[in-house]
Subunit: 344 residues, 2 copies
């Protein structure tokens, strides 16, 4: 089959790879119907050292179960399923606590002989604990929104939940990428009263407004902090969702969080230290977040997509075939595309 | 009246100061019946530059209302009251959220013309929002335990609450000072199943065991982390209460926290940065805590003291008169005393 591999910064190729087959009785093989490129894929796209061996890419996909191991129940061939961005057994103590990314028998796509999502098919380990059946056909217009259950919508929701967004709260979302916009949508859904979106790309922040942002701030750094302070009577917001991952964006997050408030980190940290000295202590600031347990959130979020209450799939603004995935990476890295949908 | 002032590192004096008087209609004047020295007082005791003007000391006290402003209701002369370690109006949005240390009209003892607690009397601003009436006489044997409502018991409780200690959870308490031991007591009270106390002073860790610690670890640094890992099947504990405030103790806290777990900081940070890079992100670690809203917790904790269910006053292992306060500081700094009670 054909699949996407990264060989180094800027070097993405679509190549022939072995067809996936059931290897363990807990596996399923899923033919990919929709996949996409993640903002986190852009970190290695910008910095990966050149390598002889390519890295299999992609961790967001939905598709049709083509084959299934003998120990997988609750799924059958022909089911349309969505795959959370990590696979997990669904039964260990971490999964029971809703922390699937720390599953004792789980792992990531594209590593250790497991396929990536940016290809024609994927062998999914721990299929029973991982895959969620979707009650639509593979020609459904909802597929883009359903695909966001794989990562960005659940990740935005994780940011809103862990930063304690609730009815009447105020939240700042740092970053207007697909995760940031999903966090806006999630915060609105959870009842946030004021949602301040920080971003400089008008097409994105316009979508952010449609998703529920009440204010948009194009400034960066200290000026952005000042603007949030002005908007909030000097206090900052109860919650902050940090959806970038740089030192600068964390500094902004710390600058705009209200006393007693929480910053949820969704962007993979590109820094090693956070300035959490005396000031943040005296203000009872919480820093939380991390990889979202997408699997834990799907049951809650899926009905709102099926009912048309939310349309998170609007973050996809470009669709490519599998052979055009390298150009999809280029377009996202160049900020020409917000998020690229792949239709193999 | 007589009161305690600090003039620099190691330089504590008891001197004559003006008698407190009602200055605002929201004030009360409280004659101090019991006060104490706080672990946080030892930071300036170890490092304060010598000054011409002494700094008024003490923020934990209980006493009798001697005079009262015209706008204070719910209190009367002769009431025995306990004072949380910050004063607060009890009515602003922060107080309503239970975050009294961030009160919009609140402040700290010993600053801006407000007396410290280590003296004969204190003018308490915002008395109605701050002081809590105690249903015992000033000869009650419960006074030491009731005094801990002013700070250490509520601070330990804050650590347990914010690190999400609950029935069946495991917790590591870093530090065997009065706050650490209070955190042990609070964690036990909230149903923690396993309470690992880190400390090297046997008399303190013995009290910690009586307060509910199930394991005591005398090692420090990497060895301490290894010991907790051994005790928890490699996982670490769900919760960590960091009751020291040094870079080293935060490193230990980060080393022993289980994936998905929370570290609550109770020790005033003597560092500026926390190593919260990629590893803590991937493990969904939360860092939280800060000054406890003691006022918010007193209603919950007071009945357990009155009923004799908890005896947090056992952290006091030395009692001094007001004139001996300097020696009390010395004894605490030399680790001869765990916590010094002052009986003016």
């Amino acid at each position: 089959m054909r699949a996407t591999l990264m060989y180094g910064a800027g070097d993405v190729r679509v190549e022939d790879v072995p067809d996936p087959k059931i290897q363990n009785p807990t596996d399923a093989v899923v033919r990919v119907v929709r996949s996409c490129v993640c903002g986190s894929d852009l970190w290695p796209y910008g910095s990966m050292p050149a390598a002889e061996q390519g890295r299999r890419m992609g961790h967001e996909f939905l598709g049709v179960v083509e084959d299934i191991g003998s120990e997988v129940s609750g799924l059958k061939r022909g089911d349309l399923v969505v795959a959370p961005f990590v696979w997990a057994d669904g039964t260990c103590d971490f999964c029971a606590e809703g922390l699937h990314p720390s599953c004792r028998n789980g792992g990531r796509y594209g590593l250790d002989g497991v396929d990536g999502g940016q290809g024609e098919a994927v062998r999914v380990p721990q299929a029973q604990g991982t895959l969620v059946k979707l009650p639509v056909g593979e020609d459904s217009a909802l597929l883009p929104s359903l695909l966001t259950l794989s990562d960005v919508l659940c990740t935005g929701h994780h940011g809103a939940v862990t930063s304690r967004v609730g009815p009447g709260t105020s939240v700042t979302v740092v970053g207007d990428g697909a995760v940031g916009l999903s966090a806006v949508l999630a915060a609105r859904r959870l009842g946030a009263e004021r949602i301040i979106l920080m971003g400089r790309h008008k097409d994105r922040t316009d979508l952010g407004r449609e998703f529920g942002a009440t204010d948009v701030i194009a400034e960066r750094g200290e000026e952005a902090v000042e603007r949030v302070r002005e908007l909030t009577g000097g206090d900052g917001t109860h919650a902050v969702v940090e959806a970038v991952g740089t030192e600068q964006s964390m500094d902004v997050a710390l600058g705009v969080v209200r006393a007693g408030g929480a910053i949820s980190r969704l962007g993979v940290p590109q820094y090693n230290e956070v300035p959490l000295g005396r000031d943040t202590f005296m203000r009872n600031i919480t820093v939380t977040g991390g990889p979202a347990p997408a699997r834990a959130y799907i049951e809650e979020l899926l009905p709102d997509i099926l009912d048309g209450k939310i349309e998170p799939g609007r973050v996809f603004d470009r669709t490519v075939g599998l052979e055009e995935v390298p150009d999809g990476y280029r377009a996202m890295a160049a900020r020409e595309a917000l998020k690229v949908l792949i239709q193999p």
